[in-house]
Point group: D5
Chain length 121, copies 10
């Protein structure tokens, strides 16, 4: 996967910067392509974060996620990459991304990434 | 948004002041207007608080929330502003406001504000 | 509200006194009257406690709760008062009372009281 | 209620006219005002119809329904009136409108109108 | 049970008389008293009807149902009696009343009365 | 199984005899014993009937059903036998008995008997 | 698939032969093998029938169904074949077999066979 | 939309041709593109049919449905078109296609097409 | 209650002794008799434990629980007694027993006992 | 049980090694055989882990689990053995395996194993 979609993400100024509060956005309509089989994957993405100076602009988040529609990428890779793009754009105090995937071969999967990583602390 | 609705909120004396106990009020019929698109937004507000000397009077809370019906205001802004008005009127020991919004563009959102903010401690 | 129902509550000796264990009784059929509007209120009461020397006798608890059927009393008041009567009769190590009320004016409420109060510790 | 919103409804040519098939649109975000109390009402509208030459255009249906936001009108009246506007615009072979309303005073309501009325047959 | 509550029921003119449509009102907060044990009964009443010239006025229905709060009356009797009062006041084309009762002695009950009775036809 | 429990069932005069209406009683706490394995069986019984001159008295129904607690009898047999006893006592216009059984060996079962049998018509 | 399992099915005399009543057995633990991919299939089978002279013996039904554990056979084929074996053994007045299969490649399937076939009538 | 995907659908011989039975396939992972907004649509397709000489081959059905992934086409059009392709390939005795679509602008939709159309009869 | 059932419980050697892992067994089909009213009680028992050298043998646990079928014993007593028998037989590192009882007089109950008791620590 | 299936498990390089994140795979289609009765067991396995250098390859996990199809092995044994094979192949930072089993003799079971065991710490 060659392209970088991260700069599609837009932000606006947090109207209550300086206060700790939590924002959660759920996207039940995510789809990408399995790079091994060429078959489409379908999942739900849940973003939860404590904003710092910036909040994610919802329409840009939607447009960003749609860009994965025809990309071939594995569950583990895609979740971490979207998290990196999100953190890079929003620079939150704390964030969590959970991706839940519909069954393939009888197995369903969930990937969860948290920021900052406890390794970094 | 010019008007200030905060003084619509009325209170009554906490009949068991001095004791820590929790009160939760859920309003599944909140509606305001998106300032960007002019389209109505619909959500559920959940207030949870530990009262100090005062309790919120339910009818005044209902009337206060109805005043947002034709106001144009973003999710992040509205949740924090209602929390400020609530805390200003009730002066609770602790409070939490959760707003859950119906899907827009395939994305649904939840905003959670807690008082006092851990920043303040 | 003039009458005192507390002495309707009966107890029996805890058959395993000296051991910490938890008892929960749920009453989904509680009703009283709103003192402001005269309209009936309907709710569910959940008692959870760790007994000391005594356990609450279930039939007496049922008879006690039925005495509120035609009493005019607010949510916040009733939950604390029932908790006081319960603690006075059973003298538990720990107790919690949660009252959940059906919607009024589009708003539903929950009140939670715990014993002992953290204030007292 | 003075204004007539019916001409807000737009249609497009049924791409499979001549075939009997069924279309259902559900709007869980309808709100109007009770003409008696001035309080907002909240409901879900479900349109089901068999198109003839025309199909309802979804965005115009949304805009039409939003026009009731500040109108004072009773459940029974509103459901029949919206059905009349819908039938007038779309001229379906068959149609059904169901409105489900959130509780008021402990009572929740559902109104169902079918077209053509069996009286007419 | 001596009193007659039926004249508490008020009606208003059906705004779409001459058209067959269906109205359903659900009251999940009904309570009366068992004449045998003196214990309170709790149930949900569902009225479904096709109006003729008249519709039931909701607030009067609520007040009417509250009058059973301290009346001692059996399930089978109460459901038929309320149906008679309803039909007498509203004179519907068709009506159905379903009462669903919470468990007593491990047994829960449902009573359903329809008007007109097929016997009458 | 030697004993006959049928005369435990008591009835009372139908207060609205001459009218067709439906009564349903659900008993989720039925238990008997499998005659083959000696293991207990657990099930839910649902009685639905249109009364004629008589209604079943609920407490006697409960006592009657408890008599099967230590009886060894198969699903198909028990459901038909209880139906025969019920019809014999109540003499309803119409009746239906559904017994739903918890899983045994990974298989769960439902038996449904209707009266009058279509064979008899 | 070479073997014939049908004679594993055992029956017992219907204790209420001559009466129309319905028996339903649900097996949520059926598994066979896809003849194309060699992968296991998992499904739920629901047998519903009106017995004539015979009822199916449950343990023999369980043993019969377990024999498909390592058989390679398609959904459409297996459902019809099991129905044929069942009808051959039990000779019911009426029967229905529904097989519901877990998702494969994002598609889940249900097969329903009824006896007697309307073609035969 | 220019291309014709219909010849992607493959069939196999109905192993029980001559018997009426029902097959249902559910695809909860359908996605296409709205031709008006360019935004992706997400839906669930449910095929139900009584086969004649042929059954649909599941893998080819999956591949066929995936071809709509980047096609711009309206709900009403797509459901009828897929039904035409399905009927053309499988030539069933009877078929039904239901498409259920996730909310857009607060409105969710369902389209149902049956074959043969009652018009044709 | 005179008899002691505890020696009905059998165990087998924990195949992974030395490792902390958790085993949970749920019995939704427990029944005993209320010593006050003589009426049957119905409940669900959930055993959760970390084994030490021994695991409970499931069939013996089933036989042990069935012995309470005709015993008269209160909720609080029975839960503690079964826990004592279980701990005595299995000698677990940690255990928890939760009994959930169906409604009696409108009140449902849950009893929870943990081993070792925090008092003992 | 003689064979060792552990080397069927394949892995791939963790694309974000060095970061703590969580992966969960759920297999609702696990089946083995009870060594005591010879009857099949059915369960759901949930693997949750924090990868180190390696991630489990899903297709190999599926093939590995299918190898237990005709193996006779107890719940407690199988869960620990699969955990050992998984940890041996993937060498995760942390892992948890939960197996949930369908009812046998009215009792359903859950086994939970965590790695590393707290004993080892």
């Amino acid at each position: 996967m060659s392209t970088d979609f991260g700069d599609l993400l837009e932000t606006f100024d947090n109207p209550y910067a300086g206060r700790n509060y939590t924002i959660e956005h759920t996207c039940p309509e995510f789809t990408s392509v399995c790079p091994k089989t060429g078959q489409p994957d379908f999942g739900t993405l849940v973003f939860t974060y404590v904003p710092n100076e910036l909040c994610i602009e919802l329409k840009s988040l939607k447009m960003y996620l749609q860009r994965y529609r025809n990309e071939g990428i594995f569950y583990e890779h895609i979740t971490n990459r979207i998290m990196d793009d999100f953190v890079n754009a929003v620079k939150p105090r704390w964030a969590n991304l959970e991706s839940r995937w519909t069954p393939r071969g009888g197995l369903s999967s969930v990937i969860v990434v948290e920021y900052p990583d406890s390794e970094d602390e």
